[in-house]
């Protein structure tokens, strides 16, 4: 058990709830045939990037943020290390 928890150093859970929901719903909406802007953007951005570098599709996060005067699109992805260095690490 983390002793610091006792003193209220616990991370808030609401941001996690929000992120999990956003991710889940963008998938479920796509299954329902509902067009979801984030899903469309995600697919198209991935297509363009995958042309040039190797990416792990599970490690891609696309988020839309709304603020008072502007909206933001945040794309967070991991680029795979070249295969040669991966084998080097494994050995």
């Amino acid at each position: 058990m983390n002793p610091f928890r006792f003193f209220g150093a616990r991370a808030n859970s609401a941001p996690q709830a929000r992120e999990r929901l956003q991710l889940l719903l963008s998938h479920e909406r796509a299954l329902d045939g509902r067009s979801d802007l984030v899903v469309i953007l995600r697919e198209e951005i991935l297509k363009v990037i995958a042309k040039h570098v190797s990416i792990d599709r599970d490690k891609v996060r696309v988020r839309m943020g709304k603020h008072d005067t502007l909206s933001t699109l945040e794309v967070d992805l991991e680029i795979r290390a070249p295969t040669s260095s991966l084998t080097a690490l494994a050995s």
Partner: protein, 271 residues
């Protein structure tokens, strides 16, 4: 012109029936003629929340099957005279609720009332789809909690595809009613905030109903909270939501319960 409004949510236990009763009563208190219709066949509860459980003689299925007419089945509220209830059947087979029968009843109610408010059962089965089928507008009752938000999203998808309005290619107005909201918890970051839920579901906000003992007390005594304790925070929130349905454009505020002296001194609880 009559408006048919469905109160729906997908998930159970979020406050559909309570909200149907409170919104119906609040609209009637504004002078509108209102009928609240219980679609939860086999598990009716709107009668109980309205305190009319001992006055039910005929129900919607009796009317559909021709054993009674609408006038015999409608129950007039004893406190607000423009509020009526059409109860669901408690015992009969769910299939007795036919598409044609429901269509006929809704059409007849449209002629007689300003507002026809359909209380949907939980889930996405037949009862829920029938309750939304003829709606002009929808109120989606959601708790600031992941499972409730997810189910609401699913229901929004159904409202946009399985209703008569959607099939005619028309736009269905959908509003979010956030219930059981605990301002203090949201501020502490332990509960989804209103903005989070609005952002995720992207529908306009009709009102925020605070978590409150007054809501439970009202259903305990069988009286909608807007009648039972009109000055309480949830009653004010419902009354404002009803005024927004009537076209009032006042801003939505986060209703807070007044802290008593004890609550002020010792914090936390009152929220």
């Amino acid at each position: 012109m009559a408006q048919v409004l469905v109160v729906t949510s997908g998930k159970g236990g979020v406050g559909k029936t309570t909200s149907t009763a409170a919104l119906g009563a609040a609209l009637a208190q504004e002078g509108q003629t209102v009928v609240v219709v219980d679609f939860d066949v086999g598990l009716r509860n709107l009668d109980l929340v309205l305190g009319a459980e001992r006055r039910v003689v005929y129900d919607m299925i009796n009317v559909i099957q021709g054993q009674a007419n609408l006038n015999q089945a409608l129950i007039r509220d004893k406190r607000v005279e423009t509020l009526y209830l059409l109860p669901a059947s408690q015992t009969r087979d769910k299939d007795a609720l036919t598409d044609d029968g429901v269509a006929r009843i809704i059409a007849e109610l449209r002629e007689r009332f300003d507002w026809v408010i359909c209380d949907s059962p939980a889930g996405i089965e037949r009862g829920a789809t029938l309750a939304m089928r003829h709606a002009d507008i929808a109120v989606i009752v959601t708790n600031p909690e992941v499972s409730s938000v997810r189910d609401s999203d699913r229901i929004i998808g159904m409202l946009d595809s399985k209703t008569e309005k959607a099939e005619r290619g028309e736009w269905m107005d959908k509003f979010l009613l956030l219930t059981r909201y605990d301002h203090a918890r949201a501020q502490r970051g332990d509960m989804l905030k209103t903005e989070d839920v609005l952002d995720i579901l992207s529908i306009p906000l009709l009102g925020i109903i605070p978590e409150s003992q007054d809501v439970l007390r009202a259903s305990n005594v069988g009286s909608p909270v807007t009648i039972n304790n009109p000055s309480s925070a949830p009653a004010k929130a419902y009354a404002e939501a009803a005024r927004r349905l009537l076209g009032d454009t006042m801003a939505v505020t986060v209703p807070r319960e007044k802290k008593n002296l004890f609550g002020m001194l010792f914090g936390r609880r009152a929220a």
